[in-house]
Symmetry: C2
Subunit: 378 residues, 2 copies
């Protein structure tokens, strides 16, 4: 709750003043204009995300209410009612909207299930027993045409197998990060599954992907604290960055609630008797275009209130460590740095809205609220 | 929270089986298709809202988990995961979108601040020292043109005074319900105030109106209960219908939080020491066209958790009585009846999402979530 803006850190945390602070990851000043839609990020910004290297000391310094951007140890008028830092983080999730016309709709059973870059489509043309290419324009794509599946692939299983074969042939150079996890392909969350697709290939076919993200929090003496994870330095994606307590993609054969319980066990050692108390609280969405990749993600958000006595314990080696940080200070880290994996910043911003840390009196309140569902949230 | 789906009513509540149940107010079966946008309501539906007459007994019968739609006292398979009744209530707030082209944009200082029906515009034409009518089309209105203010009305005060004079001349027949309360006219919540306008006239000029709505709840033995009000039978709008604990329009000279505290005192006798604990949790919006009226409302939502010992006490005579009802049973009343003032149903549905009573596993989850902000929420 809003009144939980604690000015102290959890006892036992390290000093807030690290002389080794990686300044390059702190946010640059940006325009105060409210967010009006996705914009393309500079390559410098992207580079800073993929080469992240910071410590918990850096995080705690940025979290500090008396934070000084210029390093002189004095507060510099940095204002928690200034939403600019939040808008910037939303933009990190929503890049490249101006490139949408470079993509062809991927249409199966008369439903648009995805979008394929015309350059990636050129790689698919050799598989003419799997993919079809109509010249007829659809939805104003500047290249006209659409991608489809061969009419002989009439069943879900046939399609799954044929596309999997193509993904394998294209190889890891074109589609990196193959995980052998299957995502359902459908036009909307409630729609029927048209086929299943390797998770790593989903953005190359512009498939909607769904996930579950959970904010784990604790209430102590009327103040709220969030459990924050720091990703392993050896994770292939976003190594070393800050993360939620629990998050995961939604496989094709599992309901949201069940998947969350599974991820709770794997990622933070949370037993079912606790995780079954997680509360679904809404969803956020974004669309992110970069090169051939068109991510269209919808994340179902959950809150789980923990007893003070609980300590998370990563089971799968993907998290380096966890810390419990006052919510208002987590908000500072989001505003001031790029330490968080971008979509986690989005889900935590949703938490900040629902728990009263972002107020209608702050300039840009409604624009920021709307921007949390910038992608097709269906 | 979701696990708070109590099956019992607050002790002391009246019998659930009223032989005088007003069945006409119970929802008719509707299509299970997810909400895809505003549709026009039947006049029968509107009539049932304006002629509401039901008792708390009727409410409690509809709230009952073992509710039987056919009155035989047996459960009829009515399913809390069926969101159709919620979609229907969202539609009640979002009527007449197909009539948008009957309205001319109302443009002041190069910003669209509202929309005026061409029929209402004809009444304004006689005031040619106040209103201007450009023929140039804007935004595809089928009548072309736009309404503006005379260039000699250069200040906020001049505009406020001139338009107030017109509203007075047009009279209560054209603009009923004059309250002598002023609303700010601006293009978005954060924009500058262009002038101020009588609250009752706002929908005739299609001005965006902002309000604050608060859900007051209590947690007892791990279960959540909502305080529900029943409006006075002599209120000019929605007499006798169910309402939140506290709600009010946002005047031009007050911040959201301050306005809420004022309304808490007036509507439910909640002292500032309690009401200052209300948490802002987001916003909902809708657009509703009927005749010359074009409502574009944005409601800032608040939650306030009360101690068990607190009992609300209406101060201004606008509420007949309050009852404390388990949240899951309030959800039943919204799904099954039209007892709630429509925009209150919207705000409570938002509460149901945030507190886990509506789950991702329910068909239509994302569509219903999106529909809570069907209007321009800026």
């Amino acid at each position: 709750m809003a009144s939980a803006c604690a000015s102290r850190l959890t006892p036992g945390m390290a000093s807030l003043r690290s002389p080794f602070l990686s300044r390059s990851l702190f946010s640059r000043p940006i325009s105060l204009l409210p967010f009006r839609g996705p914009t393309r990020c500079s390559s410098q910004l992207s580079a800073s995300i993929s080469t992240s290297s910071f410590t918990w000391d850096d995080v705690l310094r940025a979290a500090c209410p008396r934070y000084s951007g210029d390093g002189d140890g004095e507060g510099d008028g940095d204002d928690s009612s200034d939403l600019a830092g939040f808008f910037e983080k939303i933009r990190l999730c929503n890049r490249g909207s101006e490139m949408q016309s470079d993509f062809l709709p991927f249409v199966v059973e008369d439903q648009i299930v995805g979008y394929v870059h015309h350059g990636f489509a050129d790689h698919l043309r050799q598989f003419d027993d799997v993919f079809t290419f109509d010249q007829e324009g659809l939805n104003g794509s500047r290249f006209g045409g659409r991608v489809g599946l061969h009419h002989l692939l009439g069943t879900r299983e046939d399609r799954t197998e044929a596309v999997a074969r193509v993904v394998k042939c294209l190889g890891r150079e074109l589609i990196p990060g193959i995980r052998n996890e299957h995502f359902p392909v459908k036009s909307s969350f409630g729609g029927s599954i048209i086929f299943s697709l390797e998770r790593a290939a989903a953005p190359y076919f512009g498939i909607k992907a769904y996930g579950v993200h959970m904010n784990g929090y604790v209430e102590k003496d009327g103040q709220e604290y969030l459990w924050i994870g720091k990703r392993s330095e050896v994770k292939p994606t976003y190594p070393g960055m800050l993360d939620h307590l629990v998050a995961g993609g939604l496989p094709h054969d599992m309901a949201c609630g069940e998947n969350l319980i599974k991820e709770c066990e794997e990622e933070a050692g949370i037993p079912r008797i606790i995780s079954c108390g997680a509360i679904p609280v809404g969803a956020v969405s974004y669309m992110d275009i970069k090169g051939y990749s068109y991510k269209r993600d919808v994340l179902f958000c959950y809150d789980l209130k923990f007893p003070e006595s609980f300590t998370p314990n990563n089971q799968d080696g993907e998290v380096e460590s966890f810390k419990l940080i006052p919510v208002a200070q987590v908000a500072n880290v989001i505003r001031r740095t790029e330490f968080f994996k971008p979509n986690c910043a989005l889900v935590i911003t949703d938490f900040l809205f629902r728990h009263g840390y972002i107020k209608p009196e702050y300039v840009g309140y409604l624009d920021l609220l709307e921007s949390l569902r910038s992608g097709d949230c269906s």
